[in-house]
């Protein structure tokens, strides 16, 4: 593989897929956007599948996603490679139990009905939990739902357990405390894999020297911007959650706190982690064939990531 070009020619353009405007706000609020020598525009999406379609149609160069879409793209035969990763000190999701139900340990998931969202990060999260508890899909009842319906399903007691993100998780516990809402204790939650999200780029963009260089530069600035959001939490909360997303500051703080601290590991170090993710999904029968995690990364970016880590 040729080395990653570093020179960004004038007029290079990138289109990056965003979710809930988080990426573009992060880049702009942190000032990282101004440091880019390419012109990066953002296309806002809701959910991974639509992003994959846009990649397929050649409408995107780059996207910020969770840990599952790259597997999905891989399985679908679409060449989209991971160019950067962000690991947080916390999990993405938290197990909320329906009102009246108590969960003491992960092992208590046995026999419960659990929300399940194929193609989203909630899928490996649940599968990992089962694996850690020594359970299989057969020991529980997985209820496929659209991600957006998870909170309603658990609030109404339609499922026993739901993997919720913030602000839904805290709000559920607060709002339904009177009806006995509870969650898997946090020390149990710490047994689960931490949040992992990716930047990934289309093979076509990576093959284009100008775009590849622009993506390299973008990765570097993206890491800076993420660091900025941790060290300037108030500014981040205000510019993104309050101003752009119309959230109440208290809710926003919950979300930011739930994300914990970020680190940006080398891609090569993530291959085993990604492989185990693939394996757990495959073993659950949700992948048509066993995939090789190495095919999902463009390791040339370890160079720029490495330069930022220290």
């Amino acid at each position: 593989q040729p080395a990653l070009p570093t020179q960004v020619p004038k007029g290079t353009k990138l289109v990056a897929a965003d979710q809930n405007e988080a990426l573009q706000t992060l880049m702009r609020a942190s000032g990282a956007q101004d440091k880019l020598s390419s012109t990066v525009t953002y296309a806002n999406f809701l959910g991974g599948p639509a992003i994959l379609e846009a990649f397929r149609a050649g409408a995107l160069d780059l996207a910020s996603v969770g840990n599952t879409p790259p597997i999905q793209a891989h399985a679908a035969g679409e060449r989209v490679l991971i160019v950067a990763a962000r690991v947080s000190s916390e999990t993405d999701y938290f197990f909320a139990a329906r009102p009246g139900l108590k969960l003491a340990t992960l092992e208590d998931l046995r026999g419960k009905s659990i929300t399940y969202g194929e193609g989203t990060g909630r899928q490996p999260f649940v599968l990992n939990a089962l694996k850690l508890a020594g359970l299989t899909k057969k020991d529980v009842k997985l209820v496929p739902l659209r991600a957006g319906d998870f909170p309603d399903a658990v609030r109404t007691g339609q499922v026993d357990v739901a993997a919720l993100n913030e602000p839904h998780f805290s709000r559920y516990l607060a709002d339904f405390a009177d009806r006995g809402a509870s969650a898997l204790p946090s020390e149990q939650n710490r047994r689960l894999p931490k949040s992992l999200s990716y930047l990934y780029a289309s093979q076509k963009a990576l093959d284009d020297p100008a775009k590849a260089a622009a993506i390299r530069e973008f990765v570097a600035n993206w890491i800076d911007a993420n660091r900025w959001s941790r060290s300037n939490a108030d500014a981040w909360i205000d510019s993104y959650y309050v101003k752009r997303q119309n959230l109440k500051p208290a809710d926003a703080r919950k979300i930011v706190e739930s994300e914990g601290d970020f680190s940006f590991p080398l891609l090569s170090s993530l291959i085993p982690k990604q492989q185990s993710l693939i394996d757990v999904i495959f073993e659950a029968g949700d992948l048509p064939k066993r995939l090789d995690a190495r095919e999902e990364f463009d390791l040339r970016f370890d160079d720029v990531i490495g330069s930022k880590t220290n």
């Binding site: 999406f45 609030r155 997303q245």
Partner: protein, 293 residues
Amino acid sequence: MTDTAGSNVYSPYLPQRGHESEPRPGAPAGALARKPSRLAFGRLPRGGILFGPVLLILVWEFASAIGWLSPKFLAAPSTALVTGYDLLVSGTLAEHFLASAKRAYLGLGIGVAIGLALALAAGLSRIGEASIDGLVQIKRAVPTLALIPLAILWLGIGEVMKIALIASSVMVPIYINTHAALRGIDLRHVELARSVGITRSEFLREVASPGALPGFFTGLRLAVTTCWTALVVLEQINTSEGIGYLMNRARDYGQTDIIVVGLAIYAALGLGSDLAVRFWERRALGYRKALNS
């Protein structure tokens, strides 16, 4: 109409009583007795259509107030009013609304034009029917969600794709209703047209179109809301503005008050555009009212 045992006193403006003739002994009273009933379709007084919606809001507010409907699931109308007002004052709402309205009405305009053109082509020629009708049936049977990948492929992820998909949804009720009306057109009028020897385009303009107009209007009533509802899905793709986007995001963050504001906007749009179409319809079909002989 005031009905009395054997006699019917009728006076449009003077509610004064006429004479009553005694029931005639020989008349088969039972067999032919006239049950008083109003079979005509009275027009509702202005604003009467709001009766149901207002009732709904009152019940909902009441249910919220006494705690039957927890705001955790659905905000009360009054809460939503406050949120809506805030959004309005801040200008956010207008921004989102305009973004959606542009898409919806562009799509509506294009879809109506296409639907009409296809309906006329299919309704008035065999070759048109053969090539168009089957495809439209297929198009409408295929869910928009399944078309999105293709649309993205051919039209990209920009506005063009969204407007095209809205137009393609809007096209369906326009086509079906106009086409059905064309096929149900009074054969007497077709015969008359043939007998006076008009051209095809005159026939289209002066017989087919007015004859199919009632059907077109029904299609339009369906279309004016279709163009908005289609946005909820489409505004998940490459947008950060629009009512659909607002709703989707509110759902993500569990903001029930904003969801209710969105619902209220949809409701207002639904009622408003339906009333507008019906007003237009009433004017265009005014000739139907008169009735003699």
